[in-house]
């Protein structure tokens, strides 16, 4: 596994485009994670209030709610990380280097594992990034600082890692299937931002209600539910549901297996 990750590292470490996109992504993530206070101030200057509550008193960075809040927000920009994964596989096709890798002595499983190790690395780094930024923001803005409160909702970080991994495996599979970066990016965007959300809203009969929770994007979105109604004293789901967890794990396995089958069956 280490060797496979090394191979991936050697391919990417001198690739300018990769570092530019990665840099932009993490700057955006940092902005998303730290900018909420500024956003709330901005709302206040515009005279906004939520049922009598001024925005700036919303304790967004309070431990332990912060983990739920941050991981929920962070999942909105995961699609940009998916672009990186798509490029890393479609490049191998457009340069035909995937074929040369196999000729040189990788097996197709090894090739897949090298990409999975890249995706897993992204998921872990992303989660650590949020953990560190969240810890700093929390220590600054939170009124409680005891370890118990800090760690209480840490499961959301793990769920975020799983959500990211699953989504990136989905992106990888699409990239692998269509081989063209632009096309894959458009497909992913269309499906995850438009098609499935419309289906999940519009399909409301008995079958739809039963099926929709099993759709991949919906399942990933259900993993970490919207946390913000808690600030207007409504009930929220402040835990990870087993059912959602299992569905997402099921999709992660499915995407991985379909990628393997595609690689195995296809001539390079």
């Amino acid at each position: 596994m280490i060797n496979l990750l090394t191979i991936e590292w050697l391919k990417l470490k001198n690739y300018k485009g990769f570092w530019i996109l990665t840099g932009l992504y993490y700057v955006s993530l940092l902005f998303v994670c730290t900018g909420v206070m500024g956003f709330l101030y901005w709302l206040e200057t515009k005279g906004a209030n939520f049922q009598g509550i001024t925005p700036t008193i919303i304790p967004f960075y309070e431990f332990p709610d912060i983990w739920h809040n941050l991981t929920y927000l962070a999942s909105f920009i995961k699609i940009f990380l998916a672009f990186l994964v798509i490029i890393s596989i479609t490049n191998e096709y457009s340069y035909r280097t995937i074929r040369q890798n196999i000729i040189d002595g990788m097996d197709k499983k090894g090739f897949l594992f090298s990409k999975i190790s890249l995706i897993a690395t992204f998921s872990v780094v992303n989660t650590l990034f949020i953990a560190v930024v969240g810890l700093i923001m929390g220590l600054i803005f939170s009124t409680v600082h005891d370890l118990g409160s800090i760690l209480y909702y840490a499961e959301f970080l793990l769920a975020h890692a799983l959500e990211l991994f699953t989504f990136l495996m989905f992106a990888f599979l699409i990239g692998l299937l269509v081989k063209k970066a632009g096309f894959a990016i458009v497909l992913i965007g269309l499906y995850s931002l438009i098609i499935e959300p419309i289906i999940s809203v519009a399909w409301t009969d008995a079958i739809g209600t039963a099926v929709v929770p099993f759709l991949p994007i919906t399942a990933m979105n259900h993993l970490i539910r919207v946390p913000f109604q808690r600030y207007i004293f409504m009930e929220i789901q402040d835990y990870i549901a087993w059912k959602d967890l299992l569905i997402v794990i099921g999709w992660a396995i499915t995407f991985t297996y379909l990628s393997y089958l595609t690689l195995k069956k296809r001539d390079l």
Binding site: R96, Q100, I102, I103, D104, K265, D267
Partner: protein
Amino acid sequence: MSTVLHINNLSKNYGKVKALQNLDLHVEKGNIYGLLGPNGSGKTTTLGIILGVTNASSGEYSWFGEAPTAQVRRKIGAILESPTFYPYLSGEQNLKVICAIKQVPLTAIEPVLKMVNLFERKDDPFKGYSLGMKQRLAIASAMLADPSVLILDEPTNGLDPQGIAEIRELIVSIAQSGKTIILASHLLDEVQKVCTHFAVLKRGKKIYAGSVNEALAESETVEMSAPDMEALLHRAQSFTHLKSFQHENDKLVVKLEDGANVSDLHKHLIEGNIVLNHLTVKRKSLEKQFLELLAQAND
């Protein structure tokens, strides 16, 4: 001799296109084996299958007597069609990726870059290389793990005459180091100059296989004349390895049996005190034979 590659009844269909049909092939250690055939005859398909990137429709193959695995491929250096590298990486960085795949130390890089004369340009990005340099980098990468088998697919395609000469020289010098080489080419001249053995493919079928020398010898005719034609005719007739014997105009034209060579005949004449004033050996060019083969196989 030990078998390097054994191909048994290999076929590949692309939909209705029969790219390869029931191919049998045998490559021994030390062979410089030419896979000769016009474009579209199935050379790349064959190499793709034995390199693990194309799935065969039926049939099997083995390397070094073993079932093929990724491990085995690390001991083979191969380029299919055009050189493929990461364009944004330098020559050396590309070879580092391959070192990691083949699990050989990075110290292997310098000697192969020097061998192909690219050491000075090792830090330049691959995308800036000329076609000849790309081809040479491909050979360097194939040689990286000091493989016992080298597979080259149309290595001189698209090169200028100087580039072609450089690559051929390189192949010949690698061949002299005792490596087994499999060379696919549509250029007969290339196979004739470089190879010891060859097989001819046509529309996915093997129509000939044999050694280059034998193929050449099969068509050798010897033309002789002497001041004393009578004595020459008499003496030559007693040479036991003649296939045919003809007296044309004022010349004697003979064909030799397989395995016999002109110097044996000449020695036989000298021992009979025959002095020649004319001796030519005519080889029907492999080109002619190749074209004949292709024509014969026309169905």
